[in-house]
Structures are given as C-alpha cells and as structure tokens.
C-alpha cells in the first residue's frame, strides 16, 4: 500500500508541475491497436524485465533490481532490493559484478515523442540505436498485429496530455522546416556539447565525451541522432529540445535553456543535415580451431560461466528460475538449457516440439548449433536474419577469440 501511495503522490506531483496554466487533460489521438491485448503482450514478452513503465523510479525486474543493488551498495536502503531477505554481506559483491542491465530507457514518453509506426517497426525488426550501450532490443517472436497492440498499450501510459503540450505542439509544428537554420543548428550542436553524448552516424561516427564528463547514464542512453528523422514525431522535436523533462521526467537529456529560435535551428540540423551512407558492419573472419587442448574449465571460465549462465542457468542451486533461456521468457518457450556445469551442458535443450536435442547437433550448414548461435549474433548485428536465434540475446556478439575457443572445444570432442 505504501508503495502505491508513493507512486500516486509522485504521479500527482509530476502532473501538477507540468504546467503553469490550469491543468487540462485531453485524450491523445485514436489508438490503432487493441490496448487490452497489448497489455497482455507486454506481460507475456516480459518488457518489464528491462523497461520501467512509469513510476518515478525504475520498477523493472532486472534493471530495477540492479539499480536497487547499486543504491544499497552506496549506502541506500537494502529494503529496496526486490529479493526476499537480501543478504547484506553480498550487496557489494553483486554490485561489483553487475555489468549490464543497469540503465535502460523507460517507456515514459515513448508514444508521446516517437512515431507509432516507427515503434511498431522497431519492435518487429530492432536495430542498435544507442552506440554506447551494450544492450540492444532483442528480436522477439512478435507479429505485426501484436506489435500494433503493444504500441497501443504503451500509448495508454502516455495517454493524457496537457494543454501546454498541445500548445507546444501546435506552436512549433513543422517550424524548423520553415524557420530553422541548418548552419546555426550545427554551431549550436557543437556549442551545447550535444556530441558529448550523441553520435550522429553519417555526420559524427561516435560521441566525443568532453574531458571530465562522467555521466555514463547520459552517454549510454543517448540515441544515434541519425535515426531521429524516422523516430520522432516532427511536431514534438522542438518542444522536446526546449524542455526534455516536460515529456520524460526520467530523461538523461538536460534542459538546455535554448531559445525557441535556437530550438528550431537545432532541430533543423538534426532533421536535415546531409547524412553519409553507412556501411554495414562486417562480420569478422572465423579463426581456425586452436591446435592446443581446450578443456571445460577454460571454456566455462571464458564463455559459458561468464556470459551464458545469466540466462541458461540452473534453477536449483541459484534460487531463481534458471533464467529466460531455461524457464522461458521474453515470449519464448521453456528451453531447459542449463550451461552451469559440464554434465548439464550435455543434456541439451527442448526444441519447438518439446523434444530434447543436443546443443552440439549440426545445424543446416554442419556447424554445431551452439556455435551457430554465437555466429548468428554477428549476423543479427549486420542487420541480417540468421537461421537460428543469435546469442547472447540482446548483448554484443562474443569476440572471435571466444567463439574460436568454443568451436575448438567442440571440435576436440568436448573434453572435460
């Protein structure tokens, strides 16, 4: 109950702070999908493992827990860690070990700022949007209709808009097209240090963090501005640049104190600057199998125990559910793949028909399925559809040396 009260107060405060004018609430434009079904899908696909949905602090299952552990390690309350009886003596150790899924964008403001068509297409065919963030949106087993329904549901989270937003939107609709100056915008982009966090591939390949800037959250969450022209609702870009916190209270983007004209100029640069074509990232060359012995201890230390077991684990010894790659998750079925130890790795996984199959079984081109999944992640990063789902899901492909190690171990007969 107390959590609900806090959330209620926060939401009320956020709403009342939105405008100096009398608060007027309107419904946003008609939703295209089935909201109720969209809500079911958001639960089924477990979007909340990564994305917070609206409260003042992250309530997501993985990210929220990692953030609570981080806060507790820095002296915050251990009671915020959403685990029953969290062991105090382990908090610092966990905090030290957690590398990924600490900061991911929330749903807040998504449908207010972004084109719904883009959101739907991104759900169906995600790509790397944030160059400094290791995590990427995984391709989920979702149909186009389901994606529409999810977007419709997300729309309900942002569904109430204030008169001030309507004023902002109407006042600035398309005005960067008419009144924005691309050259002045380029100067503002440099002067305001936008490149400290943002890449704009085709103009600026990588962000150039200013010396001493240590806001890793802002750096990691900053999207590549190349995609702004297809992502953003054009009428909301200038208002967003003028006051990001109005649309997204948890945004890492600062309020830049721009004048309206500066907002139009900056928007003109972001939306109209010529973009050079981007070469597709190349898949690295496959290294030949190692001619020295490779045993389980090495391959587990470098790959399975380091990366894979976060999702393909053992529910008994770890007191969890074994992770989504064991118990099912993100809308995918139970696979029962446990890479925790040598023998469980030989027990394979459940295929789509519920039959056990070896992870060493040859795939369509003869590559063992386990190795094929590791290479498939490289294919996915190139924007290609792979024959098997790439692993690790939602994280960068393993290095060629790591894959070489796995491949060598398999080629040598998977010795202990």
């Amino acid at each position: 109950l107390s959590e609900r009260l806090v959330a209620l107060l926060v939401a009320l405060i956020a709403l009342s702070a939105c405008s100096e004018e009398p608060l007027t609430l309107e419904r946003s434009p008609a939703l295209l999908g089935n909201v109720a079904h969209g809500r079911e899908l958001v639960i089924r696909f477990e979007c909340a493992r990564c994305h917070a949905q609206g409260a003042a602090k992250s309530t997501s299952r993985c990210v929220g827990c990692h953030q609570a552990i981080g806060a507790a390690a820095k002296g915050g309350s251990i009671d915020e860690v959403p685990i029953v009886d969290p062991p105090r003596d382990k908090i610092a150790l966990w905090d030290e070990r957690i590398v990924h899924f600490r900061e991911l964008p929330s749903f807040i403001g998504a449908t207010r700022l972004l084109r719904r068509e883009w959101l739907r297409d991104f759900l169906l065919d995600p790509h790397d949007l944030r160059p400094r963030l290791d995590e990427t949106m995984p391709a989920l087993p979702m149909t186009a209709e389901e994606a529409d329904d999810v977007v419709a549901y997300l729309g309900t989270l942002d569904d109430v808009v204030s008169r001030r937003d309507a004023f902002f939107r109407d006042e600035h609709a398309g005005d960067y097209e008419r009144d924005g100056d691309l050259g002045r915008g380029a100067r503002l982009f440099a002067e305001h240090g936008c490149a400290s966090c943002h890449a704009m591939s085709g103009v600026l390949a990588q962000p150039r963090p200013a010396a001493g800037v240590a806001d890793t959250r802002a750096l990691e969450l900053a999207p590549d501005l190349r995609f702004t022209r297809e992502r953003f609702q054009p009428e909301r870009l200038v208002p967003w640049l003028l006051q990001p916190s109005f649309y997204k209270h948890d945004s890492a983007m600062p309020d830049n104190r721009l004048t309206e004209q500066e907002g139009r100029d900056l928007a003109a640069f972001i939306m109209k600057a010529p973009l050079a074509a981007q070469p597709a990232p190349e898949r690295p060359l496959r290294l030949p199998p190692l001619d020295r012995p490779v045993g389980w201890d090495e391959v587990s230390a470098e790959v399975f125990g380091k990366v894979c077991i976060h999702c393909h684990s053992d529910p008994d010894a770890e007191m969890g559910d074994g992770g989504p790659g064991f118990a099912g998750g993100f809308g995918m079925p139970m696979r029962k793949l446990d890479l925790t130890d040598y023998e469980s790795t030989f027990a394979g996984y459940l295929d789509d028909d519920g039959k056990r199959r070896s992870v060493f079984e040859p795939s369509h081109d003869g590559t063992p399925r386990l190795v094929a999944a590791l290479w498939a992640r490289w294919e996915e990063q190139q924007g290609k559809k792979a024959a098997v789902r790439g692993m690790p899901l939602g994280l960068p492909a393993l290095s060629v040396e790591q894959i070489q190690l796995v491949e060598s171990w398999v080629a040598q007969g998977r010795p202990r």
Binding site: A11, A48, G54, A55, T59, I83, M319, F346
Partner: protein
C-alpha cells in the same frame, strides 16, 4: 477544473503503477545457498569432487526421508530433484557400498535396485531428462538381468548425443557387442571422464567405488 485534473491524476497514477509483484524472484545468477536443503546439496557437491560417496550418502539421505514442503517453490523442488539424483548416483557409483540407513540391510543387488527405483521416480515428472536417463542406464547396467533395459535407454541417448556422463559411455561400451561400437563409446568416455583410467578402463569392476564422477564443476 482542478478537481477534474486531480481525478484524472488519480487515474494516471494507478495506470502508472507496476502490475507485477514488487517481490520478484532472484535473477538467478548470484544468489547463494540460503536454506538447509541447499546447504546440504552444496556440501555434497564438494564431496563429489573428492569422490567421497560415504559423505554424499550420509548428507543426502535426508531427502529420501523427508517429503517436500507442501508450498515448495519450483527452485526448491529442483534442489530436491538434484539431491535425489546425486544420492542414487552415489549408491550406484560406490557399487552399492554406501546406502541410506533405510536400506543398509539389503543386498548389493537390492541396494542398486533401490537406486534404480529412485531414478525411475524422478523420471515420472520429466521422462526425457537426459541426466536422469543416463544415470538410470548406468544403474541398470549394473544389474545383470536389466542390461538389455540399460542398453535400450543408453543407445537412443547416444544416437541423439545426449549421454551426459563418462559413466554413461563406459556402461554403453560394456553393453555393446560390436568392437567398433565399444571403441566409439570408450573414446567418448575417455574425453568426458575426470579420471579416465578409473572410469573407462575398469568401469564396473572397481572395488570400493573408485569410478570417478564429477559434481558441479
């Protein structure tokens, strides 16, 4: 106007609330063993590294005497499953030398039979579990009248590359009648065994249970 706004704010606030329970399961990566049953399995795991069958049996016989709690969570049931498999395996790999007190008066043949029955019970909830099937195949291969049954379990597993232990391959090598088949199984055994000589060359004539088997590595 303000009151309408407040009402809408109320609605928004509830729409923004998380729909899942704030108490969630651990992420499954870093949680240490925290209850009695997990402590037992963890210490048996350690003993498995040292091939201390006596300790494993002493420790894990708790699970053969106590049924799970009615409100046991899936992770708790998984712990029990693992413990019961380890216990049966320790009985088999020790050649029936070490058994829970309840079957201490039984013959060696009956002791192995007890382990077979425990493994068969585990299969009821997951008939395709390759780890239990492998252990069952090994256990059955130690009962002369059940060798065909053992082979009927292990051969299909081998065909699907799902034999999970060196002992499984060693048993199959012994059960196969053709030389090439025996050699192929022995090669797999040698690759998988922690102590290849003990496990693969003298797989089932080892007095005192010296056949190696690995616990959690």
């Amino acid at each position: 106007m303000r009151s309408t706004g407040a009402l809408c704010g109320l609605a928004v606030a509830f729409a923004l609330l998380p729909w899942h329970s704030p108490v969630v399961e651990a992420c499954g990566f870093a949680m240490p063993p925290q209850n009695y049953e997990r402590e037992l399995v963890a210490s048996a795991d350690q003993a498995a590294q040292e091939l201390d069958y006596s300790y494993i049996v002493d420790t894990l016989q708790y699970f053969s005497r106590n049924d799970p709690e009615p409100d046991a969570k899936p992770a708790d049931l998984a712990v029990r499953r693992r413990a019961e498999r380890m216990l049966a395996r320790a009985v088999v790999d020790s050649g029936g030398k070490f058994v829970p007190r309840a079957v201490e008066d039984a013959s060696t043949h009956e002791r192995i039979g007890w382990a077979v029955a425990r493994l068969q019970r585990l299969l009821e909830s997951d008939p395709e579990d390759p780890q239990v099937l492998t252990d069952l195949g090994v256990a059955l291969s130690k009962l002369p009248e059940r060798e065909e049954h053992a082979r009927a379990i292990l051969e299909p597993l081998a065909g699907r590359d799902l034999i999970t232990t060196a002992q499984g391959w060693a048993a199959l090598a012994r059960l196969r009648r053709d030389g090439a088949g025996k050699q192929a199984a022995t090669r797999r055994c040698l690759l998988m065994a922690r102590s290849p000589a003990a496990t693969c060359n003298l797989p089932f004539r080892s007095a005192g249970g010296v056949a190696a088997w690995g616990g959690r590595s």
